[in-house]
């Protein structure tokens, strides 16, 4: 049985206990799929930590440079929110459908809005509109995303 993503992330951060860590390590030695998942987690974590810092301003830069730096910082901040929303949606999809359902939806370069639309569509059909809406609201909580689900899903 494959370890859950949360367990793999905890393993990646050395936050699992010795027993569980040992079990995951043993599983990883045999399972190519989980090795690949772990590689992707590590790669993304490195990417995130590399891009986490705010852009540095050189002394003597003019107003345009400052404004573009602010814009870049904003973009980075929104990008963080998008990544957060995407991972929340994927977590919900995993809980209600499963990992293969996420893989089926996933496309290269898929944006958070698209994830929101697809997730909302599936949850509305299989879980019912009210419960689907509740999941969507939960995913959007605390994020700068005010668009209603119907608008994004169509």
């Amino acid at each position: 049985m494959h370890p859950k993503i949360a367990r793999l992330i905890a393993y990646c951060d050395a936050e699992t206990g010795a027993d569980r860590g040992g079990r995951i390590a043993r599983h990883l030695s045999d399972c190519e799929e989980c090795q690949e998942r772990l590689r992707r987690i590590r790669g993304e974590k490195e990417e995130l930590s590399a891009g986490a810092g705010a852009p540095a301003l050189e002394p003597g830069q003019d107003l345009d440079a400052v404004l573009s730096a602010i814009a870049a910082w904003r973009e980075g901040r929104d990008g963080g929110a998008a990544s957060k929303l995407t991972s929340r949606l994927q977590w919900q999809l995993e809980k209600y459908f499963g990992v293969p359902a996420i893989r089926r939806l996933e496309r290269p370069g898929m944006r958070a809005e698209e994830w929101l639309g697809e997730t909302n569509r599936m949850l509305e059909v299989f879980l019912g509109p009210e419960a689907g809406e509740a999941v969507r609201d939960d995913c959007l909580r605390g994020l700068p995303w005010a668009r209603p689900a119907r608008e994004t899903s169509r």
Partner: protein, 313 residues
């Protein structure tokens, strides 16, 4: 009961069903084991046919109630609404064998009509026949229609796939069993042996059960492509329920061909009870998923949401 306690109870409905079924199966398997070791029929209270009927009807009642709860959450026009209407109807007619057959179709203390003296043997036989018809072909037809509607929705989402060799083999074996049953009935008819109404009803349900097996195999493949989430588990329970229904049918057929029919009859009844529990699990998982969605407190770990890389899944 407070609203929170009600939601908690509903959320753990699948667990309750599994626990009750486990307890029931444990008691009956223990009595079966004692029968096997002592060689004498070991009778414990509640192992009679009436208890099977009442427990089965209870499970069907729970399934019906959960189906209605789910149905209310799907408004008119929702793609899965017809599926839940048909599943609720199937659950309603599933109560018939237990309620009509075990309560009204037998002379027991629970049969209120028997007290009045109106329940003649003929009347009780008619009740039994009606119960068998409702719980057999009619229910299977409703289930087949529900699964067809469900498969259509799954196809829209791209989950439908061709059945694999194992699925085809299971379906083929059941088709062969159906063919054998019809051949046997035909041979008996040619030999001049009368075929009872119960056997006719059972035979009428077999072709529908074949269709259900095919649908169950397609559903199994679709759910395997979906995963192991709460919704997927509910639909997988429907697959198991259909498989158990077929297995129960095979055991019922085998009973007269087996010299020691008591353990086989009990085993058959346990399969039917397991199938009833599996049918009840279908809406139970969806109710649990809906309650989980409506009450998301502490369901989503914040650190996970912030830390999970997008591609990691």
């Amino acid at each position: 009961m407070t609203r929170k306690a009600y939601i908690d109870w509903m959320e753990s409905a699948p667990r309750w069903i599994v626990v009750f079924l486990g307890m029931y199966l444990s008691v009956h398997l223990l009595s079966l084991y004692l029968w096997h070791s002592t060689g004498l029929p070991f009778s414990i209270p509640g192992t009679s046919g009436t208890s099977f009927g009442i427990f089965g009807a209870g499970l069907a009642g729970a399934g019906l109630w959960l189906c209605v709860v789910v149905l209310r959450s799907f408004p008119a026009g929702a793609p899965l609404r017809p599926v839940w209407i048909l599943l609720a109807l199937a659950a309603a007619v599933q109560i018939a064998p237990g309620a009509l057959g075990a309560l009204l179709g037998t002379v027991s203390l629970l049969n209120g009509v028997a007290w009045t003296g109106y329940a003649s043997p003929d009347w009780m036989e008619r009740m039994q026949r009606f119960a068998s018809l409702a719980g057999g072909p009619l229910r299977l037809a409703l289930l087949a229609a529900a699964m067809l509607a469900l498969l259509r929705v799954l196809r829209k989402f791209g989950y439908l796939a061709k059945p694999c060799a194992a699925d085809r083999a299971v379906f083929g074996i059941f088709c062969l069993f159906t063919l054998c049953r019809f051949c046997e009935a035909g041979a008996a008819s040619l030999a001049g042996r009368p075929i009872g109404s119960g056997e006719w009803i059972s035979l009428a349900g077999l072709p529908i059960l074949c269709v259900l097996y095919l649908e169950a195999m397609l559903l199994r493949r679709a759910v395997a492509r979906m995963g192991n989430g709460l919704i997927a588990r509910g639909w997988m329970a429907l697959v198991y329920a259909v498989l158990l229904t077929g297995a129960g049918e095979a055991v019922v057929w085998a009973i007269p061909h087996y010299p020691q029919s008591l353990p086989l009859a009990m085993f058959g009844a346990l399969i039917e009870i397991s199938a009833a529990a599996a049918y009840a699990l279908v809406p139970a998982y969806l109710v649990a998923a809906q309650r989980h969605a409506m009450n998301p407190a502490a369901s989503r770990p914040e650190d996970l949401a912030t830390g999970v890389p997008a591609l990691a899944r």
